[in-house]
């Protein structure tokens, strides 16, 4: 009887222990993907079924766990646009046109498969709780649940390479269980400064059949910024951060 009780206790404790381990893995994935505070350049390519492409280049900076700013450098029709995220708050600034307006994480400022949550992504562990981890042949499968209703995707399934603790594939689901998009992480590259991560993230979505979106990374570096950079009033001056 005592043995049975012990077994039951162990069985009940296991999911919690797994959850804790899974969250540890998730935190390591976060740090392996990017330093906590950094600057980087990204190119977003939207590819239509016809093969037609539209490209955007962004300069992004991040501080701490939940402050991100992204500035569009190209194409000229979007150059100077800046988006800011401070926790659950998001704003979009369009130069010469108006003041920054509040936007939501599901909105897309570029069109296509990528939305604001993808462009202004903060640490996965900030937005998601890893409920469980399953061991597969070469990967851990983390089952992530959004911590709040503010998060763009309700659930993520993240396959993490067991050796390097970097994501290989992420499936993003709506609360209804609908698969919204799949992200494929490719082309692991040494960015210097101890940062070694995938330089390409390819995205497809059953909601945009035949369309693909590619995100390419360049010049990802650790860099510290003052808090004032992550404010509404600074959005028109983000360009000043670039060296």
């Amino acid at each position: 009887m005592r043995l049975l009780a012990l077994l039951l206790t162990l069985m009940l404790a296991c999911p919690a222990a797994w959850g804790a381990d899974a969250n540890d893995i998730l935190k390591k994935v976060d740090r392996n993907l990017e330093p906590e505070s950094y600057e980087m350049y990204r190119k977003l390519i939207n590819i239509e079924p016809s093969g037609a492409k539209k490209e955007y280049v962004l300069y992004s900076v991040k501080k701490g766990r939940d402050k991100v700013v992204a500035l569009f450098l190209s194409p000229p029709s979007d150059a100077g646009r800046a988006t800011l995220r401070d926790g659950d708050n998001m704003w979009l600034y369009i130069p010469n046109v108006g003041k920054p307006v509040r936007i939501t994480s599901l909105q897309s400022v570029v069109g296509g498969v990528f939305n604001n949550a993808d462009i202004l992504r903060v640490d996965y562990s900030v937005e998601y709780n890893a409920e469980s981890a399953q061991e597969e042949k070469d990967a851990y499968l983390l089952n992530l649940k959004a911590r709040t209703g503010e998060v763009a995707y309700d659930r993520l399934k993240m396959w993490v390479d067991r050796k390097v603790l970097l994501p290989v594939r992420i499936e993003a689901y709506a609360a209804s269980g609908l698969l919204i998009k799949t992200l494929h992480f490719k082309d692991i590259k040494d960015f210097g400064g101890g940062i070694r991560r995938p330089a390409t993230v390819e995205t497809d979505s059953p909601l945009y059949k035949g369309h693909r979106s590619i995100m390419l990374y360049s010049q990802l570096k650790k860099r510290e910024f003052p808090d004032e950079v992550f404010t509404l009033n600074y959005l028109s001056r983000v360009e000043d951060l670039r060296k």
Binding site: Y41, K43, I45, N46, E48, A52, K54, V57, L73, S74, P75, P76, S77, A79, D86, G87, D88, N89, I94, N96, V97, G98, K99, V101, R102, T104, S105, L106, Q107, S108, G111, G149, E150, V151, A152, A174, D187, T200, Y208, K209, H211, I214, L216, Y217, S218, Q219, F225, P226, D227, E228, V229, F230, T231, L232, N233, Y234, R237, D240, L241, R242
Partner: protein, 430 residues
């Protein structure tokens, strides 16, 4: 045969691999910051107006040469640029326009902005020159925009001309419920030579805005001192209630306003007094990417329904007098009243604004249809504007819009100069 087929396959695979490698290459060095950056756009706009022969504003503008339509072609160049050296930069945005209308040609050349900036650190900025400030949270109207030119609610996103001023911006961040405080003082001189359209006389006007990000809510307080315009105070806010619903509002108190009103007989009087304007609005994004903007605007110093009706009666009698006698003196007086209030966009007191836009319907990327309805809530007249926007060609924006104005006699939109307007606009960014 088999060897040849294999060779072709290998070559095809190699070509595909090379193509893929080329396709996904990105080196950010080509996007390094430059000391001089230039950009902007050129825009061609074609408009066709179907005139409203029953409208009071039509009668004032066309009583000598009645006509049923107008065509208008506008070519606009908006170059902008910045020259940087250390913490100092020189910024400009110019507006060059040629306008071919059925009745003649007009042109315009001006700087919308031309100012120097000093930014020693991210927490402080000093701007001096012609600057376009943007105060307020409303989409179609901004009653707290005390130091700006009035926004056109038909084109709220259009870049506007600034005023010549000196302004600074201090930003400080904190931990806790109050995350950001920013203070923006403004000094705006006005005289017949500088900012003549800001107000009469010679004044050194002072204004200020205090911004707070408090408990995830944007809050602003603003003030404009007594000078070229009467003293006014304001506040605004914006907040996300849920991840897809934002609410915002503005409140402005103006200590002294004046408006010219007329009786149906044409006796004009000046009405003075304090006024309060406010705006309440919401923006919602649905799961299907439908964005809805809804706003109510109370224009405190606006004209009442009866004041509008009296003006229309005066124009009708002035026109009848012109037809009977050929004397257009009363029409000239009415035209003067129109310039000073009755003919301005949204001269009334209560307005509703609704804009619904659908991003990329039927999986058509970069295509956004929208419909905008503006209503004078007092007289129930409306402007309904469907719109198609396509941004799929690199650096090109194509927009097709139509405006349908509806309303009976004596109503705001029923008495406008136009009954309908169709507009095609092509923009090329560089």
């Amino acid at each position: 045969m088999l060897v040849r087929a294999l060779a072709v396959c290998v070559l095809a695979l190699a070509a595909a691999a090379a193509h893929a490698a080329e396709e996904f290459t990105f080196d950010a060095t080509e996007f390094q910051k430059k000391p001089l950056e230039l950009g902007g756009y050129v825009e061609l706009k074609q408009q066709h107006f179907t005139l409203n022969p029953d409208g009071a504003l039509y009668l004032l503008n066309f009583y000598r040469e009645p006509r049923s339509y107008l065509d208008d072609t506008t070519l606009t160049l908006k170059p902008s640029g910045v020259l940087r050296r250390g913490a100092v930069s020189l910024n400009f945005r110019a507006h060059l326009e040629g306008d071919w209308e059925t009745r003649g040609f007009d042109r315009l050349a001006r700087f919308d902005e031309f100012y120097g900036s000093y930014k020693p650190d991210p927490g402080f900025t000093l701007d001096a020159g012609k600057v376009s400030l943007k105060w307020g949270k409303g989409y179609a109207w901004n009653p707290v925009a005390f130091v700006e030119r009035v926004k056109d609610p038909n084109d709220p996103d259009l870049a506007r001309e600034g005023f010549t001023l000196l302004t600074a911006d201090w930003i400080r961040n904190f931990d806790g419920a109050l995350r950001t405080v920013a203070f923006t003082p403004v000094v705006l001189p006005a005289s017949p030579d500088i900012n003549p359209d800001f107000g009469a006389g010679r004044h050194l006007n002072a204004a200020a805005k205090l911004y707070l990000l408090y408990r995830d809510t944007d809050i602003d307080f603003m003030i404009l001192s007594n000078g070229s315009r009467s003293r006014r105070y304001g506040a605004d806010f914006s907040r996300n209630i849920t991840s897809n619903l934002e609410i915002h509002g503005e409140l402005a108190r103006i200590e002294d306003t004046q408006r010219q009103v007329t009786t149906a007989a044409g006796q004009a009087t000046l009405v003075r007094g304090a006024a309060t304007s406010y705006l309440l609005g919401a923006r919602h994004l649905s799961e299907r990417d439908t964005t809805t903007v809804l706003e109510y605007y109370r224009n405190g110093p606006g004209l009442s329904e009866d004041e509008m009706k009296n003006f229309v009666r005066f124009v009708d009698s002035a026109y009848a007098q012109y037809l009977a006698t050929g004397n257009d003196a009363a029409l000239a007086r009415a035209a003067n009243l129109a310039r000073n209030g009755y003919g301005r966009p949204n001269p009334g007191r209560d307005y509703l604004y609704l804009r619904v836009s659908q991003k990329e319907p039927f999986d058509i990327l970069y295509f956004t249809p929208a419909i905008t309805v503006m209503a004078n809530a007092a007289d129930h007249s409306t402007s309904v504007a469907p719109e198609l926007l396509y941004t799929g060609f690199n650096n090109v924006e194509l927009k097709l819009r139509a405006f349908f104005l509806n309303g009976g006699a004596g109503t705001e939109f029923g008495e406008k100069q136009n009954r309908r307007r169709i507009e095609l606009q092509a923009r090329l960014y560089f």
